[in-house]
Symmetry: C2
Subunit: 301 residues, 2 copies
Amino acid sequence: MKINILGCGSALPTANCFNSSQTVTIGEKVFMIDCGEGAQIRLREQKISTFRLNHIFISHLHGDHCFGLIGFISTLGMMERTADLHIHAHGDLEKILQPLIDYFCQGMLFKVIFHSINPRSNEVIYEDRSIQVSTIPLKHRIPTCGFLFEEKEKDRHLIREKIDFYQIPIKELHLIKKGADFVCSDGTVVPNKLLTRPADPSKKYAYCSDTAFSEKIIPVINGVDCLYHETTFENSDEKRAKETGHSTPAQAAEIAQKANAKQLIIGHYSARYRSHKKLLDEAKVIFQNTLAAEDGSVFEF
Amino acid sequence: MKINILGCGSALPTANCFNSSQTVTIGEKVFMIDCGEGAQIRLREQKISTFRLNHIFISHLHGDHCFGLIGFISTLGMMERTADLHIHAHGDLEKILQPLIDYFCQGMLFKVIFHSINPRSNEVIYEDRSIQVSTIPLKHRIPTCGFLFEEKEKDRHLIREKIDFYQIPIKELHLIKKGADFVCSDGTVVPNKLLTRPADPSKKYAYCSDTAFSEKIIPVINGVDCLYHETTFENSDEKRAKETGHSTPAQAAEIAQKANAKQLIIGHYSARYRSHKKLLDEAKVIFQNTLAAEDGSVFEF
């Protein structure tokens, strides 16, 4: 999985920290999470192809997480995109955005299809052969959810010489990859572990922004390879964080630690901080394997 | 007058060339023309105060000229602005933008007041004691107008020693500055030119984007100190410019020349051009005093 940060800022965008947006690349597929103002500019800057970007997930309907949608859709229209674009968001978004699309994006060759999500429950909202995305209910001023990206269990690797040795027919290989034993014509059972090596591990990524400190998310995100958790305010501003439904580095790190995350990425910084070093240092005190997102950062795991 | 370029790009924004937006600063007052996506980011980057920015003029309702409004308004709300904000635009903008303001900008301490303009006629749409703004009908795919900013005639400068010599009462000085002669108690008339030096010249600035080549604008903008005229395409793409309602450098320069403009600024470049040197060179062949806008450029005259 690869995460490209398009915007690491919070409510007030700056030249270095645009409003929230990022892409999650899994194999050939690209997903977008949130789409703040200027997201399309960062996409172009980072040379991220929109050809395989078919799904956008919007965490909540604060402007800094969705004001970039209309510009991005309009641009896709001008670029003569033909593949439908799916937007997963609170149901209100369709009512807000459709009139803009109707007015500004006439003659587009693709449809924008809205999928209403319930931010208050943990449910699967997207699924294909290799990936599943589910909602993570968060604690913010308005209904908000994070997103958990999970790769499905991958195929085991065939050991070619064993496959040849037992003369396993091609039509059986699909099952062998899934873990099946092989039964020879004489009835002998060859256990799968002789024929295959373990599958590559399936990766999990959790995006949690915007949110106040909430231990309720811990079981949902347990064991993720990477957790993106907002740290809008420094530890000294914990009171303000609580009041506004945001988190501090200590809180994000505590969540990462308790959820056994392998890595923590912090972001969604208040524009009051010119540098994010202190935020990073504060998180590292509790959770060493923390990285600070910046616009243009790329994280692979 | 001072022009700050916030976005010199056309339909597709890039990291270097955001969508159309600029400010016009006249004395203490700041006006915004167009407000493409990211305009608020450039404003902040250029440290332009929004305290005296009370009027925004929108040339037409293509997204690249107005998608930045909702983010900018939302940000002003978060910054606890109290002064009303006036938006002068085609009447449709209110229908489009008001629902967004209602949804995303609750609790703002200021009102957004829409003023519907008729882009097809040349009329005064804003006036105060020192400035007048009028529309310039342009030739584009949808109703579009440019804006002519004109300083009103300024006061003449009093010659202090003459004022003292003739013992002119303070209450008379206002009229003297406007050009009145002074009548002494014995009936002698002191002509104004003995009492004052000429006023500073009043400046004129014309913004013409988006537009195809149109000689109709020449009488409206005649004699401007500075003309911003779009040059979306290079001369070799004149056909495409015509088809899409845009201009080439040769066309912009011809307008500047025929309108006796003192200076030409070109902008609204297609994203296909990484450098704008050729566009500039092509304009200079016809109109030497041409400058190329870039995001962050400041022009004073």
